[in-house]
């Protein structure tokens, strides 16, 4: 669950390649551990019940839906705000937002989910809202940084040639900010998938259910399998994010 990591700048080919290798390798290792646990540990009936395939499948789907729905919500909110706040004349608002949200990162996601539960009741929607608040910062901050690091000379040339403000935003600023913005979205998705594991606390389902059952009933294999599964899930999406970062980079950069 990465959270407040600052936007990464291009670190060169090696970093990019490692980006695409390390996560899958880790996922593979985890899968091996999971398989080993399944094969070699004591799987009694209780454990079997916890690990029933249909259950696991459902939880998997739930986790994914939670991760994506909350990320979609965040993108729809944070990117427009990021754009709005980087327009001329609003530096103080921008700093205020970034500082406040930075502080919000220290709020425990756990606490947020439960508080939202007390307001909005049980269910998936509650969790989606809570996660959206939590992962707002990476996307917002990356949008802001991404837009601000666009070479001013390029923007000036664009305006000077007759692009309207809107055209400058869509033809120049956004395309050039895409790499950094996508990095932020990737972070948000990973956070959200990770935090979705807590959804079980408020009736939101997800793979945390398996882990919790394992904890409650003192069945280590269940704990491990649950943990491994949700970890692999997060790594898979991180990997997809890394692919997006690599292949959605504008040519010529």
């Amino acid at each position: 669950m990465s959270v407040v990591t600052a936007p990464t700048v291009q670190r060169g080919n090696l970093a990019e390649r490692l980006d695409l290798i390390v996560a899958p390798v880790f996922a593979g290792l985890l899968a091996i551990i999971g398989a080993a646990v399944l094969l070699y540990s004591d799987i009694d009936d209780t454990t079997r019940a916890i690990l029933a395939p249909e259950k696991i499948q459902n939880q998997l789907v739930q986790t994914i839906i939670l991760g994506f729905a909350s990320s979609a919500l965040v993108i729809l909110i944070a990117i427009p705000i990021g754009i709005a706040v980087t327009r001329r004349g609003l530096p103080r608002l921008k700093n205020f937002l970034v500082d406040t949200l930075g502080l919000a990162q220290a709020l425990p996601a756990y606490g947020l989910i439960v508080i939202f539960f007390s307001w909005f009741g049980a269910g998936i929607n509650t969790v989606i809202l809570a996660l959206a608040v939590f992962s707002l910062l990476p996307v917002l901050r990356n949008t802001i940084v991404g837009l601000e690091q666009v070479d001013q000379a390029v923007i000036e040339a664009g305006r000077g040639m007759g692009y309207t403000k809107r055209q400058v935003l869509f033809e120049i600023e956004l395309p050039l900010a895409v790499p950094v913005i996508i990095a932020g979205i990737r972070t948000a998705i990973v956070i959200n998938i990770g935090m979705a594991a807590l959804a079980f606390l408020v009736g939101g389902g997800g793979l945390g259910e398996t882990i919790n059952s394992g904890l409650k009933l003192d069945r280590n294999p269940a704990i491990l399998i649950g943990a491994v599964l949700v970890a692999i899930l997060a790594l898979v999406f991180d990997f997809l994010g890394a692919l997006a970062q690599r292949y959605l980079k504008p040519k010529g950069m």
Binding site: M1, S2, V3, V4, T5, A6, R11, L14, A15, L18, D19, I21, V22, A23, F26, G102, L103, Q105, A106, L107, P108, A109, Y110, G111, L112, V114, I115, F117, S118, V190, I193, G194, M195, A196, A197, L198, L201, V202, G208, I211, N212, G214, L215, N220, I223, L224, G226, A227, V228, V230, A231, L233, A234, L235, D238
Partner: protein, 208 residues
């Protein structure tokens, strides 16, 4: 009420203990790692990639995956928090060391300082502000995540949230939840202040 205050004290102390001990160990480890790998691009990028993966892993998974090995309670919580806090500090150590003007290093070597002296007397002090910023990032991170320790019997401010949740909608349950949540924020602010003070105390005025 007195037991309540006792509870608050105890949980806050536990939580603080997590943060301080993890930050302490992680800082030493990450800075050392950053220093050791500063000459090899491969080693450096590999360390960054691996610690980055830790941060990608879901909190709950990281807290629970070590249980079969170390049981419940403080141990798995500490390990999880430790692994989480590595990346920000490591990355900032690397960036900090990288960002030093090479002419300064040149001059130092030219004056006859050994590599070690350059590292200890010039590079680390100059990189310190950036490293400290990384420690701050990590601290914000773990203050929030440490609340999950309660789920593996690790204590901390998460206890309030858990008990509050369990007792909903009974009276005082909401209060408990908010207490746990807001105290994390307060703790974060306090740590931030301490780090700012540290910054002022340890960074030479020449580079502030």
């Amino acid at each position: 009420m007195s037991t309540r205050l006792d509870q608050i004290q105890e949980s806050t102390l536990e939580h603080s203990l997590y943060v301080v001990s993890v930050l302490g160990l992680a800082s030493v480890f990450s800075i050392a790692l950053g220093v050791l790998t500063r000459r090899s691009v491969l080693a450096r990028e590999l360390s960054l990639a691996i610690t980055s993966v830790f941060l990608t892993l879901p909190a709950l998974a990281l807290f629970t995956i070590f249980i079969p090995l170390v049981g419940l309670g403080f141990a798995p919580s500490f390990i999880a928090l430790f692994l989480y806090s590595l990346l920000p500090i490591l990355r900032n150590t690397i960036t900090g060391l990288d960002g030093i003007d090479s002419s300064v290093l040149d001059a130092a070597k030219g004056m006859g300082l050994t590599s070690r002296q350059v590292l200890l007397r010039i590079q680390l002090p100059l990189a310190w502000p950036v490293i400290l910023a990384g420690i701050r990032v990590s601290s914000m991170l773990i203050v929030g995540v440490a609340a999950i320790a309660t789920l593996v019997a690790g204590g901390g401010l998460g206890d309030f949230i858990k008990s509050g949740l369990a007792r909903l909608p009974l009276p005082n349950s909401l209060e408990a939840i908010w207490t746990g949540t807001l105290l994390c924020l307060v703790l974060a602010l306090i740590i931030d202040l301490i780090l700012q003070a540290t910054k002022r105390a340890t960074i030479s005025r020449g580079i502030r």
